[in-house]
Symmetry: C2
Subunit: 143 residues, 2 copies
């Protein structure tokens, strides 16, 4: 019988389920993907949001380094395989509906493809009524 | 002319764009939604991942409290409107591709619908080869 994620809502701390059963229960989207948040295990900065399918999750578990699925390239993407900016995985968490993952990682180099430390460098100005979004980090060329 | 998100990659810190232009440039999915990460502004705990459309983003900006779009209920969802567990928004950030948002929030009460502090209470055991996922927080009834 397949795992009912909803039943885990009432499960006590320490209850365990097999990863294989949880993977079967993940409500992947039409493309077979689920969103994954990468957070720096030390600074707690949220670094990026990317996507994984079942195979990418299993590779990440097996290899200990984040392996995403690139929607733009339609292929697996071992984070850092060309840049060297790998993500050593310290913790993998699933949310209550098992439709989002949270990775705690040790990030080597920049997490963002722009070479910024993280991807969330566009920040809304909430203090004024101007409703402007501000770039908060220089691109690497101007550093 | 519409905003090209890619051009912002090379923009220096302090460069601003209008929120309205950024909203136009967001690559919403087929359902018109984009994933949104809510992070506790104080503890830096990632609380949950939810979804917003353009209207939900604008409401969140205007009201200062997180308003998501519930896919299961197919309606807007002012977080905490029934539970009282509202999220006061301290910061709104967009990522490099403008296809993910990060909110820094002051969370009132539990972030998770199970009444746990946050949604990511299912944790993979990386230390053993057992590949089991463990519930890390009791449900509120057993506290």
């Amino acid at each position: 019988m397949s795992l009912d994620i909803g039943q885990l809502e009432q499960a006590k701390a320490g209850t365990t389920v097999a990863l294989a059963d949880l993977l079967q229960a993940i409500p992947f989207n039409d493309q077979g993907l689920v969103p994954v948040i990468a957070q720096d295990a030390t600074t707690q900065q949220v670094l990026m949001l990317a996507w994984m399918d079942s195979t990418a999750i299993q590779r990440t578990v097996d290899e200990g380094y984040a392996c995403y699925y690139s929607r733009s390239r339609a292929s697996y993407w071992r984070k850092g395989e060309t840049s060297g900016h790998v993500q050593r995985v310290r913790k993998i968490q699933f949310d209550c509906d098992a439709d989002a993952l949270l990775l705690q990682v040790d990030q080597t180099g920049a997490a963002c493809h722009t070479n910024r430390d993280h991807c969330f460098y566009l920040e809304l100005d909430l203090e004024s009524d101007a409703c402007t979004v501000r770039v908060t980090q220089d691109p690497p060329q101007t550093k």
